[in-house]
């Protein structure tokens, strides 16, 4: 093997990689929040709503959880224009990831809803708690603790999932790495640095989430 490692050549491009990492994080956060809204709404409908709506949501969830996110985004980016909807690559990625996240989060949130303790709610009601007070003091603390580990886990998965945005030209971490690669041809170096950044990013996120979970919700994610 005649490869000579030249990590020095990557040094000047480090800021661009950091920028990319920031974009990755932004996409992940936006898609997660959007997905959480969708997921919570869908889970609520599935738990409390009419059978027909629940069935439709089932179709949505089943479809999005059994097909690859990459191909979902391909469809949004390439097929929608034929129907008159033109999306930028960033928009396509964001919408795709949000819809995908929404499907997975529906399942997670549904488990959360089902973990509510009806007997405690009834006790609270009898004690004179209003619906809102019941939710705030009785349901939420327990449900939040139950939901925290799977939600944290989903967020970490999504942070790694932002990497496929590079396929569509979005300048997140992997995309930046690919750009730098085509400029310097120091392929192994730039991608190992990118890999390292992903590791750091997910580790920091895992630790931060673990600590938040521990102190805010007394939820243990198993890391700390």
């Amino acid at each position: 093997m005649n490869y000579v490692f030249q990590y020095g050549q990557i040094w000047p491009f480090l800021p661009r990689l950091f920028d990319g990492a920031l974009v990755s994080l932004q996409i992940a956060i936006l898609a997660f929040c959007g997905g959480l809204l969708i997921g919570t709404a869908c889970a609520a409908v599935k738990t409390f709503g009419p059978k027909l709506a629940a069935w439709l949501i089932d179709i949505y969830v089943t479809f999005f959880t059994n097909t690859p996110q990459l191909v979902q985004i391909y469809f949004l980016y390439f097929a929608l224009p034929d129907m008159g909807i033109l999306l930028t690559s960033f928009a396509a990625v964001l919408i795709g990831m949000t819809l995908n996240a929404g499907a997975y989060l529906t399942e997670i949130q549904r488990a959360g809803f089902e973990s509510r303790r009806v007997s405690e709610m009834e006790a609270a009601e009898v004690l004179g708690f209003s619906r809102l007070q019941q939710i705030r003091y009785v349901i939420l603390p327990h449900v939040a603790r139950v939901l925290f580990p799977p939600l944290s886990n989903q967020f970490i998965i999504m942070t790694l999932g932002t990497s496929m945005a590079a396929v569509f030209g979005v300048e997140e971490l992997t995309g930046q790495a690919m750009n730098i690669n085509s400029q310097t041809f120091r392929s192994i170096e730039v991608f190992t640095v990118a890999a390292g950044l992903y590791i750091v990013l997910t580790l920091v996120a895992s630790v931060a989430l673990s600590l938040i979970g521990r102190f805010a919700f007394r939820a243990r994610t198993g890391l700390i």
């Binding site: 097909t67 690859p68 990459l70 469809f75 990497s163 392929s187 192994i188 590791i199």
Partner: protein, 231 residues
């Protein structure tokens, strides 16, 4: 839109195209299956190494730990790129399928290794203790006592990973491995509308993944029930 698709359909559904899609689907399944089979073997070795108490094995234990953490925290695409360029650097002309296979093997080993390790350590401490006091070596303990009790805890998440991994292999298309997603791009480039091309790919992925996912759920229920009778 629908009119376009209906118009293309006869041209789309030719024997050649369908054969192409079937082969691509098979490639996708093979990629995930290969990754998972290697993943079970290597994963088991990784789990075993991480459980060895001996001082001499410390560097190996560290390696196994780092390997598992690293390959679970790097996106598929980045690992794929690293494999691609690493093979390129060797100077040998390695087929793309091999690059893809190595990538899936590396990643699956880390994830499945963690699943196996989790299953093994979940077996009650007193089973390990009893074996230790009767001079079982670590391999003997795992073989006779721990694994027979742990496999039911390991199989459902391992199978679940396999089903999930099928979707991850879509990214192998990015270096040109001829699997399902790549087939979609090819058909789109050949002139078929994106909706038809990628739409049919989505349907095929669904057709593969959904039955397997249902089976996985069934497996999980069966094993959870039987665990309460006799391990």
């Amino acid at each position: 839109m629908l009119a376009t698709i209906l118009e293309e359909l006869p041209r789309f559904l030719t024997y050649y195209n369908l054969l192409f899609l079937a082969q691509a689907a098979l490639a996708t399944l093979a990629l995930s299956a290969f990754g998972c089979i290697v993943g079970v073997i290597v994963g088991f070795v990784l789990a075993f190494v991480r459980l060895t108490p001996s001082r001499l094995w410390l560097p190996l234990r560290w390696f196994a730990f780092l390997y598992t953490e690293i390959f679970r925290r790097v996106p598929f695409l980045v690992t794929l790129m690293l494999c691609f360029f690493a093979f390129q650097a060797t100077g040998y002309d390695v087929p793309l399928a091999v690059v893809g296979a190595v990538t899936v093997a590396l990643i699956a080993s880390a994830f499945i290794g963690e699943i196996i390790r989790g299953g093994l350590v979940s077996v009650h401490r007193n089973q390990w203790d009893a074996a230790a006091t009767m001079n079982f070596t670590l391999p003997q303990t795992i073989r006779h006592v721990v694994l027979p009790q742990a496999w039911k805890i390991i199989l459902p998440p391992a199978f679940g990973f396999f089903v999930m991994f099928i979707k991850d292999t879509a990214l192998a298309s990015q270096i040109g491995v001829i699997e399902l997603t790549y087939a979609g791009k090819v058909l789109n480039n050949k002139g078929f509308s994106a909706a038809l091309s990628f739409g049919s790919i989505l349907l095929i992925y669904f057709a593969i993944s959904y039955p397997l996912a249902r089976f996985g759920k069934h497996l999980e229920n069966r094993l959870a029930a039987s665990r309460h009778h006799r391990t």
